[in-house]
């Protein structure tokens, strides 16, 4: 475990050095993400200008979901999101060979191969938004809520990682899963909306929204003090099962890999 952490720190430093070569790029992305977040805040301001709540979700509760959804983007970019970009190409070009011969877990190497600083810059913005929404909501027992929030937030991240692992496992069969990044980004982006506020779209629609709700709406609920134990238990169990299952699928799919470099 310590070894993997050290490797991650090294990858982090190398990615940071690479990003700092293009400092103007870093500042450009800071502006982009700030504008994007402001657009979303305006969206919710307009919506709540016309209604006091959406199925029981108030303006600041929705802004909290937006903040947490943005935090997911930032922390995902800091950790496993780069997994979605070049994995298919690495298989196609035989670059996976180099990873396979290293004495490290292949899933770890594939998922944590660089840190995407361009999207990491959303973290300070999202933390500010979360703090602002919490200040407006002034929930009681905030410390306990934060302690409950952390494992549920991590569960949501594990579910996202497992979904990406499952999708990327297809690359061993299909080689280029080109639309993976846009499909996965759409899942990440819709986690910025309060999925648990959506009702009346049929059983299939609601079922599809469950993973989205677990990623951001559920942690937001805990932060403002609404503890939905069925959802909390479901989130933790799903994270464990999905992680084990996705890893098993990935390792099984790896057997289909044959080097393309020779």
């Amino acid at each position: 475990m310590k070894k993997y952490f050290k490797i991650y720190i090294r990858v982090f430093k190398l990615s940071a050095m690479s990003e700092m070569i293009n400092r103007e790029n870093f500042w450009t992305w800071l502006i982009i993400h700030s504008m994007s977040l402001i657009s979303m805040i305006i969206f919710f301001k307009i919506i709540y200008g016309g209604t006091s709540s959406i199925n029981g979700w108030t303006e600041y509760q929705s802004l909290l979901v937006l903040g947490i959804g943005s935090l997911v983007t930032g922390l995902g970019s800091l950790t496993f999101f780069p997994f979605m970009y070049n994995f298919g190409r690495d298989i196609d070009e035989g670059d996976l060979d180099m990873r396979l011969i290293k004495p490290l877990d292949i899933l770890y190497q594939s998922a944590f191969n660089f840190v995407d600083f361009e999207d990491f810059v959303v973290v300070p913005n999202s933390l500010l938004l979360i703090a602002y929404a919490l200040w407006k909501l002034h929930p009681s027992h905030l410390l306990i809520n934060i302690l409950g929030f952390i494992p549920i937030f991590i569960s949501g991240m594990i579910i996202l990682f497992s979904l990406l692992t499952l999708i990327q496992s297809l690359a061993f069969k299909l080689i280029r899963v080109d639309s993976v990044a846009s499909f996965y980004w759409s899942i990440v982006n819709i986690s910025k909306y309060p999925a648990k506020a959506i009702k009346g779209i049929g059983l299939i629609g609601i079922t599809l929204l469950i993973p989205i709700a677990v990623i951001s709406s559920l942690p937001a609920e805990i932060l403002f003090g609404r503890w939905d134990w069925i959802w909390i238990t479901g989130s933790i169990i799903s994270a464990i099962i999905l992680f084990i299952f996705s890893r098993w699928v990935f390792m099984s799919s790896l057997r289909h890999y044959s080097s393309a470099s020779s």
């Binding site: 657009s39 919506i47 200008g49 209604t51 709540s53 199925n55 959506i198 009346g200 779209i201 989205i212």
Partner: protein, 228 residues
Amino acid sequence: MLMMYALWVAILGSGFINTSYTNTSIGFYYLFITFIGVISNTNYWRLTNLINSGNLSAEIIRPYNFFLKELVQFIPHKILQSLVFSLALIIFFSLGITIHFGLFQIFLFAISTFLTILSKFYIALSLGGLGFWFRRVHGFGSLFWNLGGLFSGELIPVDLLPHTLFLISAYLPFRSLAFFPVQIILGKINSSEIVSGFAVQIIWLAVFIFIAKLLWKKGLSQYDSAGH
């Protein structure tokens, strides 16, 4: 698109005021706005990669118009996307979710969508052409389209924006790139607004053509490449 539709169903169900949209019209709104976003999307990274890799040299010495070739090669993909969209429309109609529009409306919508495709193509050429001066240009692209998200109607219908933002949107190109064609097909604007809308679209298209040609002229004058 589905998420925005589902969210709007929830919003409208919560007694949202200040809107003339219904569940059906908001569903069609996001269907058409998504279609326009998808069909007019042009990849500008490819152009930057051509510049940065030096492979542009091989392209520009060939005896054809490079811009035209770039435009034409997207046509089969656009046709395929239109067929998928038609399928989505059929599914909508078969579910009993219908909207009435005449042949003339479809014709005007098609022209407006075509102008959007052309505009976005020249915007992509301009963004991609920044590769003559910068190695990484996707930041500029994201900056441009993020600003556009709010004013084009992709995030929220422009007519629901606060008055100040609505006025600002009138001076920016984004509204005519997505919101205007959708307003035509949904029958939400009258003939004089359609005429002025087309005039605005054509003016912005001319501006984008001018900027793209200027950037590429300046860029090519200082471009050099080496290879084997």
